[in-house]
């Protein structure tokens, strides 16, 4: 096998290592160090895909991140990835790729019919049509358009790769390892600064790898290699290749994606595929270079038309000829460098230079080498469909308006150079106010908002000597500012060929009678004519132009098209470019894998899970868990094939009949200490707290300042100045912050410390008529009688050698106690309760049974405290003090809150006593009323009352207090249910609360 377009002696690839790969099913080979693009070009493959809209053939345009269209579907290690840039994808053994956006094949693509219809498909055509008949848009037209759109195919398999993050800090972050990056990194590192040098390509050196220059008596490439190896050895320097700094965020935080494994056939086990670096830098040096601008002419999207710098890179880095009969079309000296490289490698290029009589060392050299140069010449159009086979060229008048006679010239590639566009993306993202530099016809960074400096070509400095001088200085000065060191190293001498000015020319006029498409945005098929239409129709702001035509909105985000687009708008609108302004640069500079942004928090670990000390016991005993915030709680303990309904009913019944135990560790616990603790509680809760005796608990409700219930729970006075507060599981963290807010900001005079002790204590609620007997057995030394431990009483005791806190509180409405022990002993406590409880027929119960118990008792919980209810809605009037002030009190007397027909919690029973009412049903007066049917309230919680063996629900009902005894309908249209119901008191079981006090 030979590669027709690979040269023997030139390039940085490893010829000792052949790699085989497949493209569109055909086998090829390349070498280690190739990109997929260079390997394909070496094999003479130029047709890669089809464009977005017209399905025109697409080849390669660039050689790196700026590539607008050479993208493929990549297959690697049994996975596939869409829209991979061939110019960035390094070749590996066994790589497979296919074309995107063409069917049935890239060679014969049905979609190319759009190319013939293109006169009917100008910018914005879809806004003007597809409107009739009305329903056809989403039934017929849209599905067709959708199918045609989209590039590659997303795999819907779960991603098995690892992605990681790293937070790093440094003095100087340097983005780009070209001459300015290397020089500034070296100067700063030598001066003791912590430096991170990031390069997005596999090889360091940037343009030094391809330019014929001499630095300190070494070739540019040798100099770069030496600097890099020295930097790599320095402990204060991190050097990273395959690493793209893609975003510049606030407070000098930059984000970089490092590709660790994309160039390998398979990611090494335990290694990440990519790593995202969050880098906080004291100073940022942007040395991201520049991107060559295309020249615009007819059919300039034909495969074989490419950037002149890319052609040079393929030649010098990969030893690949992009063509054997190249035409170089340039408006500046850069094209000559490419031509000279061709010539040196035995290829005869022809140069078309738009300039009249330029002169410089490089032009001289080209002349001396005998290269054919045509001055004042332009390419009018590329010829050929799937590959350039000739060009239509013409002489152009001095004012660049008129073309001479059209001539044909045979060629197999057209290398274009329309001068250079500084890569100002990062600077602009940082808030830098960019300015237009007339000398280079491009924007350059202006005044910095953050600590950032742009150097070299990215700053519009295109000579090496100046670049190195600026960069050595910047590296030294900035590092000196940070490290206070003063080690200055001297600049090396530089030998480079001088260049002359470029021609302010970017678009070839159309010859008379020709209607060539001249493309600006290659992937999205935006041509000069599209911009003209947009402007003609009044879409004048550059943002309107962009949105109307989709200019610059493709996967390359307009890296090669935006500036030419601006030029065009400014020409037509008769404005200067800076008045037109550029569209906003936003991160990411280049697309970033979402997996990398997310990192390790995926799958089961997408959010942490909290577990109680008794979790293992629950697991072993067939608990079915439920998410409560990020906690896992047992919902019921499944016996055999029991359903949730059966299991929870069994558990609830057992509580009512015997005794049950429930893990309540997840309830928030806050330890409150200090001389003003009582006063704090008195201000936070709606009821009175100043007179709670030591050893007693009290139920409390706290509000937000807007009067809405925030949370409820019991608080116990452990000792004179020591309280133990409990909160709901959901609000625990918020309540702590809430207390800290008032203590630190609003009432700093209060001497109180609050600290979360949720995790310190494992909690078990034992409930049921036999709970006292059980308690007495667990704690033989206490007096468990109602006199010894009354309702809302608190004592401390010893549980088989373990210190325990006992609270006589109840959520289930039964006689109940809550036992707390320190968490390490939680499992011990639980096992003891189960062991000793055997004789009382104890069963553990989960949240579902707990819910049943509280509903039939009419105890409110999260579903009634839904962030919209006030205490009155929940029948908590008795807990709202009239005498004292508290948080949120002032809001309670608003008009809507005191309205006579204000909603209230009520009980709801189906008339047939059989049909369960689905939660979320609404209560209406008339089930047959026309829509919209006025809703009086909704079912907040439903259960099967184990006490009465019929369904029972709680509802929040308008004018609830006057509705008891009324007959309404509970409607759930979603479940197609209309249930006649009767409104009853919310306290369905034990309305006087005798059991808890028994």
């Amino acid at each position: 096998m030979t590669q027709n377009y690979r040269l023997d002696k030139i390039g940085l690839i490893n010829r000792d290592k052949k790699l085989s790969f497949k493209f569109n099913g055909k086998n090829y080979f390349g070498y280690e160090g190739d990109t997929l693009a260079s390997a394909l070009l070496a094999n003479g493959v130029h047709l890669i895909g089809r464009s977005f809209k017209y399905h025109r053939p697409r080849g390669f345009f660039g050689a790196g991140v700026d590539e607008p269209y050479a993208i493929v579907q990549l297959y690697r290690n049994n996975e596939t990835e869409p829209n991979v840039k061939t110019t960035e994808q390094e070749l590996f053994e066994g790589l497979e790729a296919t074309s995107v956006n063409c069917w049935p094949s890239v060679n014969f693509d049905i979609g190319a019919i759009n190319n013939f219809l293109k006169v009917f498909l100008p910018a914005g055509f879809y806004y003007k049509t597809f409107m009739w008949p009305k329903s056809f848009w989403y039934k017929v037209y849209e599905p067709i358009i959708r199918k045609a759109a989209g590039l590659g195919v997303a795999s819907t398999k779960h991603d098995k790769e690892r992605y990681e993050h790293k937070y790093e800090y440094c003095d100087l972050l340097i983005a780009g390892s070209g001459p300015s990056g290397l020089a500034s990194a070296y100067a700063a590192a030598k001066n003791g600064a912590r430096v991170i040098l990031a390069e997005d390509k596999p090889r360091f050196g940037g343009t030094l790898l391809t330019s014929e220059v001499n630095i300190g008596n070494q070739t540019g490439k040798e100099w770069a290699e030496n600097i890099i190896s020295e930097l790599k050895e320095m402990p204060n320097v991190i050097v990273k290749n395959r690493s793209q700094v893609f975003g510049y965020y606030d407070h000098n935080m930059l984000v970089m994606s490092e590709k660790l494994s994309d160039h390998l056939p398979k990611t090494k086990k335990y290694n990440p595929k990519q790593r995202l670096w969050y880098i906080r830098a004291k100073e940022v040096l942007i040395s991201s270079g520049s991107i060559e601008r295309p020249l615009v002419f007819g059919n300039n999207d034909t495969p074989g038309v490419m950037l002149s710098s890319a052609a040079k890179e393929y030649l010098k880095v990969y030893g690949v000829l992009v063509g054997k009969k190249p035409l170089i079309f340039t408006n500046n000296d850069s094209g000559y460098e490419t031509a000279i490289e061709f010539k040196k490698n035995g290829i005869e290029p022809v140069i078309l230079d738009t300039r009249k009589e330029p002169n410089s060392e490089i032009i001289e050299e080209a002349k001396n080498l005998g290269i054919q140069i045509k001055f004042s010449y332009v390419v009018v159009a590329a010829k050929g469909y799937k590959k350039v086979n000739a060009a239509e060229i013409a002489k152009i008048s001095d004012n660049k308006n008129d073309l001479g006679t059209l001539e044909n010239i045979t060629c197999d590639c057209i290398c274009v150079s329309g001068f250079w566009t500084p890569t100002i993306h990062l600077a602009s993202q940082s808030g830098n106010k960019t300015k237009f530099d007339k000398d280079i016809d491009a924007f350059v960074p202006g005044v910095s908002k953050q600590s950032e400096t742009t150097l070299g070509a990215a700053n519009g400095t295109f000579t090496l000597a100046e670049t190195l001088k600026d960069s050595f200085n910047a590296g030294y000065e900035l590092s000196k500012k940070i490290t206070k060191n003063d080690n200055k190293i001297s600049h090396p001498t530089v030998v480079e060929k001088n260049k002359t000015t470029h021609d302010k020319f970017w678009c070839v006029p159309l010859p008379k009678g020709k209607n060539y498409k001249r493309f600006l945005d290659f992937q999205n098929d935006v041509a000069v004519s599209d911009i003209e239409i947009a402007l003609k129709e009044g879409y004048r702001s550059i943002e309107h132009v962009k949105r109307y035509t989709t200019l610059g909105m493709a996967t390359d985000q307009g890296k090669t098209s935006n500036l030419n687009g601006l030029q065009l708008v400014s020409n037509i609108e008769n404005k200067i470019v800076p008045e037109v302004g550029h569209t906003t640069f936003r991160p990411p500079y280049t697309p970033v894998t979402i997996g990398a942004i997310v990192g390790r928090e995926v799958g089961k670990h997408s959010r942490p899970t909290r577990k109680s000390p008794m979790h293992s016991w629950h697991e072993k005993n067939n608990a079915v868990f439920v998410d409560a915030g990020v906690w896992l709680r047992p919902r019921y303990y499944k016996i055999g094939e029991e359903t949730l309904f059966e299991g929870s009913k069994r558990e609830a019944k057992n509580v009512r009949a015997n005794v049950g135990v429930c893990d309540v560790t997840t309830l928030g616990k806050i330890d409150i200490k200090g001389p003003d603790a009582a006063e704090l509680l008195n201000r936070v809760y709606t009821n009175a707290w100043l007179k709670l005796p030591v050893g007693k608990a009290r139920y409390g409700v706290m509000l937000r300042e807007d009067g809405i219930v925030m949370d409820d729970g019991t608080t116990t006075r452990i000792s004179e100045n020591h309280y133990h507060m409990t909160t709901t599981t959901a609000q625990a963290a918020n309540v702590l912050s809430h207390l800290e807010y008032y203590l630190q900001l609003v009432w700093p005079e209060l001497n109180v410390n609050v600290v979360s002790t949720t995790e310190q204590w494992a909690g078990a609620a034992i409930a049921g008529p036999k709970s006292r007997n059980l308690l007495q057995k667990l704690f033989p030394n206490i007096d468990a009688s109602t006199e010894g431990l009354p309702f809302m009483g608190y004592i401390e005791a010893d549980l088989f050698g373990v210190h325990a806190r006992i609270f006589r509180i109840s959520f289930s409405g039964e006689l109940a106690y809550e036992v707390n022990v320190e968490s390490d002993n939680g499992n011990f406590m639980w096992e003891k309760i189960m062991e000793v409880g055997q004789e009382f027929k104890i069963q553990p119960y989960g949240t579902e049974a707990l819910s049943t118990l509280r509903i039939e008792m009419g105890h409110i919980a999260g579903s009634e405290l839904d962030g919209r209810t006030i205490p009155y809605d929940n029948s908590l009037e008795g807990l709202v003090s009239k005498k004292k002030d508290f948080i949120g009190k002032r809001s309670l007397d608003r008009e809507a809150f005191i309205a006579d027909d204000r909603q209230k919690v009520v009980g709801v029973v189906p008339i047939d006593k059989k049909t369960s009412i689905p939660e979320g049903s609404h209560l209406v007066k008339d089930a047959m009323a026309p829509i919209p049917n006025p809703k009086l309230g909704y079912i907040s919680a439903s259960c099967w009352s184990v006490e009465y063996d019929n369904p029972f629900s709680l509802a929040i009902l308008k004018d609830g207090k006057n509705m008891i005894g009324q007959k309404l309908f509970a409607m759930s249209p979603l479940k197609n249910k209309t249930i006649p119901v009767e409104i009853v008191s919310s306290h369905y079981v034990d309305p006087k609360g005798e059991r808890v006090r028994s």
Binding site: E168, Y270, K611, P613, T665, D671, N751, T757, Q760, E822
Partner: protein, 195 residues
């Protein structure tokens, strides 16, 4: 045994991750620490007591960020203004605290059971921290501490040593299993030994 530590069911011993062909000193060592006395000490705003005069286990309370007072048994970590976290392997220290720190001046809260504690040791220890915690560890020295967050979980990090690096990380007990996963998962790349 009645007492079960936070990571009892979670921590496993042995070699994990990319450990093959690596020397023992190249591997990270991950262990669970338990049975510490952990006391939060907060001086009330109104208290006029001078903390300079107080010594617990011969250690002083210093009101200075990142600061630790420590000896072989006890480490007193600065936890916030007038707020310390005392970690001690000597359970008797609690008695000393209760004697020396008056109830009128200090809120003393025992939180010994409320934390899961992981110790990591080895030359890549800071690399593990950097994978989930946004703090700048480059200049963090031996015997300093901080509160921060690791993959979204609040943590206290205590730099025990810097050669080789050794840290203790405290997180809330209920997060223990998730946190243990987060840390050991970060260690896989380097290979680690659960001890």
């Amino acid at each position: 045994m009645s007492s079960i530590s936070a990571l009892n069911a979670t921590h496993s011993k042995g070699l994990f991750g990319d450990h093959e062909g690596k020397n023992d000193d190249e591997l990270l060592k991950v262990s669970e620490l338990k049975d510490f006395l952990i006391i939060q000490i907060v001086k009330y705003k109104s208290s006029l007591t001078a903390i300079e005069n107080i010594k617990i286990d011969n250690l002083s309370l210093k009101n200075e960020a990142l600061n630790i007072s420590c000896n072989a048994n006890t480490r007193i970590l600065w936890n916030g203004p007038n707020n310390w976290l005392l970690i001690s392997s000597k359970k008797e220290t609690l008695k000393e605290i209760n004697e020396k720190l008056l109830e009128a001046d200090f809120a003393i809260t025992n939180v010994s059971h409320s934390r899961a504690i992981i110790q990591i040791e080895g030359k890549n220890t800071k690399e593990i921290l950097k994978k989930g915690c946004p703090f700048n560890f480059n200049e963090l020295k031996k015997d300093t501490c901080l509160n921060s967050t690791y993959n979204g979980m609040s943590v206290t990090i205590d730099m025990i040593d810097d050669n080789p690096e050794k840290v203790r990380i405290f997180t809330l007990r209920s997060f223990g299993e998730s946190f243990y996963h987060s840390i050991t998962d970060a260690c896989l790349e380097f290979g680690y030994k659960g001890i």
